[in-house]
Subunit: 351 residues, 2 copies
């Protein structure tokens, strides 16, 4: 067993972990490990927003175009295609792409084929919305967690390595304890979100500035390999509670520090839903995320249900679960919305 | 809103709380406050153990005798009469008494009427067991929590005052954050329990030495005032889960650091059960208690259920809940068992 914090990211502590040194978690879990050369990653959320069945074909084509552009030089090491319907009834498809270095990402972004498309005024005249939510945490500013040491998801795919089983998990507060920055920093937020620039066409091309220590979580599950009792447990008992929690955050999150929540489903390359989903949310602070996770009845039920679930199955799970959590510096965030409705992503509550 | 840690017990911190300074709990709670003159309290558990219906009369008479002795000079400021049936099928009645000063307790104990009875060899020949579990935490070594600011229970009754509504509650880790010692001490346990002295009659009069930072919790609820939906919620939904958790600790607690657990019911002076109960447990460490509370499905369900419950009732609860938690120095513990079976209290797992 080893710490979730990689050796080369350890430093003299000014803040303690929540656990004692002799703590042994009740079941194993793993973190992704960045090779020493990896100092900063990029998580890019490239969205296409549409409304109504008539627009779905055009939206899908736009998403396919984005996915194709990932194949250009300096494209991402991994991407997912995902979908959800938001509270305003819009379809939102997001291609989520990961780079293990900001330099190729910047070059990819500057590729004329990519940049011209993004900057074109045509993007305002297609009855579609587009957005880019780009976060680029340094390796000390995020953590990952997986219940299996293989088949990583998300940023874990591009980090290149895996830990042994880790000590800091299966207790409240372990998320914070896994983030290297927590060794010396309470990660208190400062500043506020703000709309920082608009084009002449007011509101149609909008940038949002994040703030120091804004937190973000992608937390997912894949039930494709579950069978029998385990499948029933997930589909009939856990998923409805998870959905209730996700809808609470979507509809009432602003009051508790959740700027945006999307409960998304993975799509295959042809646009068909896979048996994989995740919640994606942005928060004022890691503390706000902690408070919700630890006190909202739905999430407490999810956690308690999972604990019961893994014990009932004697820790032989086919359900795959993972998450990635970042606490972002101001310079690690870039949010831009083109022709999107005012409750989209980080715009939510600002417009 | 104020800190659960009384002003005069605050000190420069070397360890942080789990919450940010701007944390606001979702519902109010209160702590008992000791007057400045109170520096150490005594929590005395005076038990009578019997087996079978035929012995109940004699056991009740013995308990009544103990309760009568509380009326002597220097007796406790408050006491409860309580009962449970342990895993070995023994009835255990405990008179739980509280003093707000160790000096009168010591004098009361030394009263010939009290001491002669306790020391008498007759205690070995009545087909009853007796025990005294006396813990005397200094005020920096324990905390209390109540969901109403009136009608305190337990040690709160003798402390003489109440806080305003407190900040450190309704999150995991708040128990630790309410204990003044946590400002500077991780409260790591050291040493082991041990049987330290026996009389010539081996095993029949036994003392157990505790160890540094042994933790103890009394956590209770009164449902006497609940009606309708709230009563159904407690009786049919929460209590069975609570009972499951209590039975797990009773039967399998040793493996996770729980030395002893009793799920007890209050009795009135005539021996009839009241609609009040509590769990009483001793732990190797506060961390072990935290880990169980936060990860065992039953307790997570209790916490999640309570969160849902208070929200469903719009925080207008008739259910009264409270707890008191101590982290004890070696010199704050005294455990003595006379004629008790080997799994009684702190003897559990030692004999």
């Amino acid at each position: 067993m080893e710490s979730a914090i990689a050796e080369h990211l350890k430093c003299p502590r000014t803040r303690h972990r929540r656990i004692e040194d002799d703590y042994v978690p009740p079941y194993p879990a793993w973190s992704a490990r960045a090779a020493g050369a990896v100092s900063q990653v990029v998580m890019g959320y490239f969205g296409v927003q549409s409304r109504g069945a008539a627009m779905q074909g055009r939206a899908c084509a736009a998403l396919a175009g984005i996915a194709r552009s990932f194949g250009l030089t300096d494209g991402p090491g991994h991407h997912d295609l995902t979908h959800f319907v938001d509270a305003d009834g819009f379809d939102n498809m997001i291609a989520i792409a990961y780079w293990n270095d900001p330099a190729p990402f910047a070059r990819w972004c500057a590729t004329p084929e990519v940049d011209d498309w993004w900057q074109s005024d045509q993007r305002l005249d297609e009855d579609l919305g587009y957005f880019r939510e780009i976060v680029s945490p340094r390796v000390a500013h995020y953590e990952t967690l997986f219940n299996t040491p293989d088949r990583f998801e998300g940023v874990g795919v591009v980090m290149g390595g895996a830990s042994g089983d880790i000590q800091e998990h299966a207790y409240w507060g372990s998320m914070r304890d896994r983030i290297p920055l927590s060794q010396t920093d309470a990660m208190v937020p400062s500043g506020v979100r703000a709309i920082v620039a608009q084009t002449a066409q007011a509101g149609r091309r909008v940038r949002v500035a994040g703030h120091e220590h804004l937190a973000m979580i992608r937390s997912g599950q894949e039930w494709a390999d579950t069978r029998g009792q385990e499948r029933t447990l997930y589909v009939d008992e856990m998923e409805p509670v998870l959905r209730e929690g996700m809808e609470f955050l979507r509809d009432q999150g602003l009051g508790i520090g959740c700027y945006s929540n999307r409960y998304m489903r993975h799509l295959d390359a042809a646009g068909a839903p896979l048996e994989k989903s995740f919640g994606l949310s942005f928060w004022r602070s890691l503390a706000d995320l902690e408070r919700w996770a630890e006190s909202h009845p739905t999430h407490v039920a999810i956690f308690g249900g999972f604990m019961r679930y893994v014990q009932a199955l004697n820790f032989q799970l086919q359900l795959r679960v993972y998450h990635e959590v970042s606490v972002l510096k101001t310079d690690e965030q870039s949010y831009e919305y083109v022709n999107c409705h005012p409750r989209t992503g980080l715009l939510n509550g600002l417009a």
